[in-house]
Symmetry: C2
Subunit: 211 residues, 2 copies
DNA sequence: CAAGGATTCAAACGAGTGTTTTAATCACAT
DNA sequence: ATGTGATTAAAACACTCGTTTGAATCCTTG
């Protein structure tokens, strides 16, 4: 079996270590050691550590965003052709389900999901800005779609509740790359599809609450 | 006016910088510079950077946990003396409201809230374990109380939904130390008490959803 | 006032960081 | 085969990090 090329090996190793240890806790020597490439290869192929992070994120978030946008627009189109407002549950499903399903899209994908799940709470602007820039258009679409779905909800309340939703989703994304953290006295929490459905139901109830 | 003593000045500066830049992005030189003390003072008074983090967290989380435990037990006692199960909403209120109100308990408190809001998604075990160790007993109490309040809910579903709740709460805690992030086309989200009430209502709906 | 422990200070240590440099090697077109 | 540009390799760069050292200073107690 032939190894992937140098760029891919670096991206794979960086994705894993960024997700596992965080961006600033990960050294280029750790990445190049894991990828079995020379230390200078990172700066040769990507230019800098910051640019490597951006490449790691973009490699996966662009296809993921395409999927989420397609599913959102499908819900909007279907509602439009039925002459009705889209249902909040369908919109949330279109956004959340592909996000969590993406964890099973291949080796390393679960690391990526954990990485961007932490991006929102990342103190460093390098990581946060890189992520926000990529996800803002989609977030805007989701927000305006939900405003259609819940016309009686004031916009600032909707935005606040959407922040809660993003917090819950981000947390689930982070957890999915960590060992389940078994504690005595606690049951095992849900995983995979059941988890996605449960999360969608949870935030749906919260978003649709009277105000 | 007399300055606080060296230990307090270090704790205050460390709290602010840990919250702002993260534990590993914060250098002892940054802390001692802001605190206007000598570099070696940290190791003299606290022993190490890790021990300083623990001191920063414990200084505030011990009083905060005492408040939350008191409020939780008050809800439990009141339900017991009324011969009824506690209401999930009251339990959530007892846990969440003091947490967010704590942001206004003094200068620097909002930084602390942001710091422990990020603790759950922190990749570094130093930070995460230090936090989990402090909060686990309280979390256990909240979990078992909610199990009483929602006896028809299977334990693993309850735990899963409680994870969603912690995600939403953590995210709000993180955001509270950042500038509101005004974006064109988006309204201003809620702040302060209104925010706490909105969050409690949100997670309450989600927790009580049928399953 | 004098003694002695607590605290502060400047300086340095060794290890680790991202990045750059320069030469060696590879793959492919002529 | 030969030369050429792309890639890899080893080494060093300048810098920051947490920690330690040993002397200077402060403050309290006798």
């Amino acid at each position: 079996m032939s190894q992937p090329d140098t760029k891919t090996r670096i991206l794979d190793a960086a994705e894993k270590l960024f997700a596992q240890d965080g961006f600033h806790n990960t050294s280029l020597r750790g990445i190049t050691g894991l990828a079995k490439v020379n230390l200078a290869a990172v700066n040769y192929h990507f230019g800098s550590k910051d640019a490597l992070l951006q490449a790691v994120i973009e490699r996966r978030i662009i296809p993921l965003n395409r999927i989420r946008q397609q599913k959102l627009e499908a819900v909007l189109d279907q509602a439009k052709s039925a002459g009705k407002s889209p249902a909040a549950e369908n919109l949330l499903h279109a956004f959340i389900e592909p996000t969590l399903a993406f964890r099973n899209s291949g080796p390393g994908a679960v690391d990526f999901i954990a990485l961007i799940g932490r991006a929102l709470s990342e103190p460093d602007e390098t990581v946060r800005n890189c992520f926000i820039q990529q996800v803002l258009p989609l977030f805007t679409l989701l927000f305006s779609s939900l405003a259609q779905a819940l016309p009686e909800l004031p916009a600032h309340i909707l935005l606040t509740r959407l922040q809660f939703t993003m917090g819950a989703l981000s947390h689930v994304m982070c957890l999915s790359a960590r060992p389940p953290l078994q504690l005595p006295g606690f049951p095992e929490p849900l995983v995979d599809e059941r988890l996605a459905e449960e999360l969608i139901g949870f935030v749906c109830q919260g978003l649709e609450a009277p105000c």
